[in-house]
């Protein structure tokens, strides 16, 4: 009985700590997604993305350097980008890379490994390669052919600000019922109905879209945090050490550990560093490259937003590519 109580309080503590740590960032991600949805026109994104080809995957994998967004915040934002007609495979590259290849994570990794720059470089480099390859691979198997958004996500698709409207009536951006496609029509429509309180309305719209996004994603964060807490209680961390020297088993174990313990990408380097002298660098890289890309909480977040087949394709490709890349690295 006492042991059970002990487990229960450890469980609630770990559960609440993951939830509290991640929730503000999920809220930030939802707000960013709503902002992109309302205020960033498709054309602007298309322009930034540039031409087709491998270049955009490389760019997407480096975008985290400019937008340092962690793995919880990135899923709502990714969904929002796809609604803006960004090819899903490019978004996958972005979602996989940004939580690792970003300055904040570089800094925390450097701190955790007490200034060993090589660890930082290898971590960033491997994550960049994995993210770009995953995007290119998913494109080549035709993932971009149909929309990966879940049907209800499509049904709930919200009013969109058309680029024409935005450029001409920067302040009148609320009209959900303006659905006209033609420039001239938009123009007259927006003029005749330009509301006096448009700024307030658009703030309200922004907030309600954020709320909707956060409400649908937040439950998955709660479930993910619970699963991670159970895993942390049941499996002693020393299990991860016991497989040490074998690059295949070591990498696989550390990747599973990273997936299930759902640490945030700024913190996982410190946990990895605690294994430093016990595990080969390759296994540590498996932990630090894979964990931020996929873990139990953001997998559930992905399922909230995207169709099952798409999520499965993403998980399999990122997992296999990470494993091969990391094992390849440790054998070299």
């Amino acid at each position: 009985m006492f042991v059970l109580l002990d487990w229960w309080s450890t469980f609630t503590t770990i559960f609440l700590s993951i939830f509290c740590e991640a929730f503000p960032f999920l809220a930030l991600g939802s707000a960013l997604a709503a902002a992109v949805h309302l205020f960033v026109p498709e054309k602007a994104i298309a322009k930034i993305l540039g031409k087709k080809g491998i270049g955009r995957y490389l760019a997407a994998s480096l975008a985290g350097l400019i937008f340092p967004i962690c793995e919880c915040a990135i899923v709502p934002l990714g969904g929002s980008l796809m609604r803006k007609k960004v090819p899903p495979s490019v978004v996958v590259s972005f979602m996989a890379a940004a939580p690792v290849v970003n300055p904040l994570v570089a800094l925390s990794t450097l701190t955790a490994f007490k200034g060993e720059v090589s660890v930082v470089v290898v971590r960033m480099g491997l994550a960049f390669v994995v993210a770009a390859l995953a995007g290119i691979f998913l494109h080549s198997i035709g993932i971009d052919r149909d929309s990966p958004m879940r049907p209800e996500q499509l049904a709930e698709q919200r009013p969109v600000q058309r680029p024409e409207q935005r450029s001409e009536h920067a302040n009148a951006r609320t009209h959900s019922h303006i659905n006209s496609r033609t420039h001239s029509h938009t123009h007259t429509h927006a003029q005749t109905h330009a509301p006096t309180n448009s700024n307030r309305k658009s703030l309200g719209l922004f907030l309600s879209i954020t709320a909707e996004e956060l409400f649908s994603a937040g439950r998955f964060l709660a479930i993910g945090a619970a699963v991670a807490a159970i895993f942390q209680i049941i499996v002693p961390r020393s299990v991860l050490e016991s497989v040490a020297p074998n690059p295949f088993a070591g990498t696989a174990t550390m990747m599973s550990g990273a997936f299930l313990s759902a640490l945030c990408s700024e913190a996982d380097a410190f946990v990895a560093a605690s294994f430093k002298n016990l595990l080969p660098v390759g296994a540590l890289m498996g932990f630090m490259v894979y964990g931020p890309m996929l873990d139990i909480k953001n997998t559930l977040l992905l399922m909230a937003t995207f169709k099952k087949n798409f999520v499965i394709a993403v998980i399999i490709s990122i997992t296999v590519i990470t494993f091969c890349t990391v094992v390849g690295f440790s054998l070299v």
Binding site: S17, F25, N179, I209
Partner: protein, 254 residues
Amino acid sequence: MQLMNPEDLERPVRAGTFLLLSALFAFLLTSNRIDLLIIHGHSWTIAAAAAFLAILGLNELWGFFTGRRRAQDAATCSHSHSHPHHSHHPQPCDCLSNRIAPKRVKRLCVNALIFMAPVLLGFSTTPAVFDASAALHRGLKMNLLSVAPRHPVGSLVELSGFVVRWEELPPNEMAVTRFVVSCCVADAVPVGITVRHPEAAAYPTNSWVHVKGTVQQESRPTLEQGGSEPHFFIQAYLITAIEKPEQPYLCHDH
């Protein structure tokens, strides 16, 4: 207009959920319980989230009492029917509600219930502080000294922590341990140092002690199998029992 349209429920349910979560975060902050969950340097994110959730919740309430389903539902209807022109009618269309109402209401309820888990647990439980058994479970590393600035062999050190023991440990030794947290306690890493003192056994496992002693080094097997780190320990000359500090965790400063 029927009262039980799912659209009528969604905004107030979201409002209630967000206001409760906001209250939870405010409660965790004001009761200082948050410091036992995430590092102090991240408290501001909780404060910001509490404020933001309150704004979101109030906006949903406001929308419920005034505009009703202005934003989302006009879009829902226009998109699902892909009408090129949607008339400017003020009353919300009920085109979808009948068809998908039960599914939507169910999802809404399940969502709200899941959110109640952190709310209820957060209000009702005091966060546990990880102890000796957690330290062993999480793989105790005997490198507490390397967390602090380097101490050469023979130098005087002073540190505090809680007592951890395991079977093979001789009676005149104990591991004085701290958890180091980098973001939230889920990533806590236990680090300890062996302390040797003739009366070490007098300090029970999990009790907090303050130790003064000199750094020594010897060659002996470490806790981990095949551990190759040089094994340091502290030859203590003074051990004092102390209260558990208010902040039992050490933090990495990024």
